[in-house]
Symmetry: C2
Subunit: 151 residues, 2 copies
């Protein structure tokens, strides 16, 4: 895949370490979860998460995720003052990571959302493929509508 920007400096060349530097905090993966599984796209929607992220932390994490190329910010086609966020291909490719983290926790801890967990357990690859397809369609649709409004 073409790489137009130089990679940021990581603490080491280990790919796991690179993942951790991008995602290893208490909030980034929750934002990605809300986009990927909950269809959240706006600042207000992210603020509504059950874990009650603070506005300053949310703003910081959105900036970081955008800088890492995991999400992209778009102007609302109908109202240029409004912005929304979409997962990039790189962000969408996190579906297997999130799925394995959900399966691990649900196997070893008392957690909720057993309907989702059973769906993952029943057909993990099918679940991941469906999530990726839905996210990609949403990204394409919104990117298209944004382009259309500028014609």
């Amino acid at each position: 895949m073409p790489r137009t920007k130089p990679s940021p400096k990581w603490r080491s060349g280990c790919p796991l370490n690179a993942s951790i530097e991008m995602l290893g905090d208490r909030w980034s993966l929750l934002i990605i979860r809300d986009m990927m599984l909950g269809g959240a796209r706006t600042f207000k929607e992210f603020l509504g998460s059950r874990e009650k992220i603070a506005t300053n932390i949310l703003a910081d994490r959105l900036r970081r995720l955008e800088a890492y190329g995991i999400i992209t910010m778009q102007r609302d086609p109908g109202d240029g003052r409004k912005v929304f966020y979409l997962l990039t291909r790189k962000g969408i490719d996190l579906a297997p990571v999130l799925t394995e983290m959900v399966l691990w926790a649900s196997a070893h801890e008392r957690t909720e959302n057993q309907v989702l967990v059973r769906e993952m357990q029943k057909d993990k690859l099918g679940f991941i493929a469906a999530v990726k397809k839905r996210c990609a369609e949403q990204t394409e649709l919104l990117a298209k509508s944004s382009t259309d409004s500028h014609k």
Copy 2:
């Protein structure tokens, strides 16, 4: 699976959130990586990681990982003043999470250790099974040798 201890209080019932609360920091998964892939077992071996973890952070993370039941501390059978750390079943079950994080970063960033990455890409399930088997054998062997020394 029997649960003898109550789960800690999470920010929400979401299983992804539980994973993040246990692992969502800049160091815990690197310690698990060093145990899982590098065979590290002692404080000194963890300190030798390429990312240069500080001693106080390492001590804190080992305590946290033990409290979450991801690793277990054992006395060295030959010298009771020495301790070493082993992955529990719960810790070993993180192999798919680490694998997906490695594959994701190596697909989207410039990273090293391409031999390992190719091995994962070629046969992901086989790789995970082999890692789990090796860790389980190590845990059993060391636990056995620890028990033997107390007979």
